[in-house]
């Protein structure tokens, strides 16, 4: 494992090799915190969206199957499906809230 100082040094070398004259200042700890918050928000929302997406798909798929069997109960089944999806979407909303918190509270 690299210790943070070496990591910073490597990053600075990379930066200077990329475009030497644009780099003006070294990376500070505040920059790292902000970068970490940004990455954290991205990872949080990205991976947090997988589960609810598939789960809501299952709920809606079963609802479609049930409506195919009993079309006269369509209204009730649609409402049940929406409520089930709303509940399984809560984890997605947690991810959204946490990501927004990271962006606007932690990473400022």
């Amino acid at each position: 494992m690299m210790d943070p100082a070496t990591l910073l040094a490597v990053l600075e070398t990379t930066l200077s090799q990329a475009d030497a004259d644009v780099v003006e200042s070294a990376i500070t700890g505040k920059d790292l915190i902000k970068a970490g918050a940004l990455m954290g928000a991205g990872i949080c929302m990205g991976f947090g969206a997988i589960g609810p997406g598939i789960g809501e798909g299952f709920a809606a798929g079963k609802a479609c199957e049930a409506i195919g069997r009993a079309p006269e109960e369509a209204g009730l089944l649609t409402r049940t499906m929406l409520i089930g999806q709303a509940v399984s979407e809560s984890t997605g909303i947690y991810s959204l809230v946490v990501a927004l918190l990271m962006l606007f509270v932690v990473g400022v």
Partner: protein, 251 residues
């Protein structure tokens, strides 16, 4: 292609130095909204121009459209009488027409015509209106107490609970209430960004592909898919979601 996703903003009233409050207006969005509405009124006027017992072609089209949405509203809301269902018909029908033609108008080969639905302001205002109407209908159908009581979570209304269980049920509202409120806000965001993202995505793909081919050919296939197919489907999804949110709120 640096102009991708940018809208023309007027910060001042035309020919003056008076600034427009609220950060200016996206003038092309408003212009295209007016164009779409004028086109829709014109087309519908052809249908209602001379209403006859035996309808002409335009009247047949208009009437079958209205009849389709009448059936849709009736089967979704399931009010007992026809007039109660009919109250929502103008909202649903004009929402679909506006969004659908708004998605199509970017097809016209001038860059003065850009989709009003590819502006987040337009879709957000429609989405907020839809959710506001759903909440209003819910409050009217159930009463404010019951409607907002549902936001406090399932454990708030426990009749048989006593002591600590009851206290815990009441305390759970601290957790559920913000979540449900965020859920309502998320409805607005998801309904409006779905339309916005799909339409602006399609528009940008068409712009990029035609720039890559140096505008030597019009990407007809892409236009057919992104503008007409996705446009119609997304307009229908927007309308159906509005209708379903209202139907869930009143029951």
């Amino acid at each position: 292609m640096e102009h991708i996703g940018e809208r023309l903003i007027w910060n001042y009233f035309p020919f003056t130095n008076i600034p427009i409050p609220g950060g200016g207006v996206n003038v092309l969005t408003i212009f295209n909204t007016l164009v779409v509405m004028a086109l829709l009124w014109g087309m519908m006027w052809l249908g209602v121009r001379k209403l006859t017992r035996v309808p002409g072609r335009a009247q047949v089209i208009l009437e079958s459209f209205v009849g389709l949405f009448d059936g849709l509203v009736t089967s979704s809301l399931e009010y007992p009488t026809r007039d109660q269902n009919r109250k929502f018909l103008p909202l649903i029908a004009s929402l679909f027409m506006f969004v659908c033609l708004g998605n199509f108008i970017g097809f016209l080969p001038t860059h003065y015509f850009e989709e009003p639905t590819a502006d987040i302001n337009c879709t957000m205002s429609l989405g907020m209106m839809a959710i506001a109407i759903a909440i209003y209908c819910g409050v009217k159908a159930k009463g404010a107490g019951e409607f907002f009581g549902e936001l406090l979570g399932p454990m708030w209304h426990q009749e048989d609970a006593t002591g600590f269980a009851k206290l815990a049920g009441k305390a759970s509202a601290l957790f559920f209430f913000p979540l449900n409120v965020i859920g309502e806000v998320a409805k607005v965001i998801s309904i409006s960004f779905r339309l916005f993202g799909n339409i602006i995505g399609g528009a940008i793909i068409i712009v990029v592909v035609s720039t890559l081919t140096y505008n030597t050919f019009l990407p007809i296939g892409l236009d057919l898919f992104f503008v007409f197919f996705v446009g119609t489907v997304q307009a229908f999804v927007f309308t159906m979601l509005t209708l379903t949110y209202i139907a869930v709120a009143i029951k």
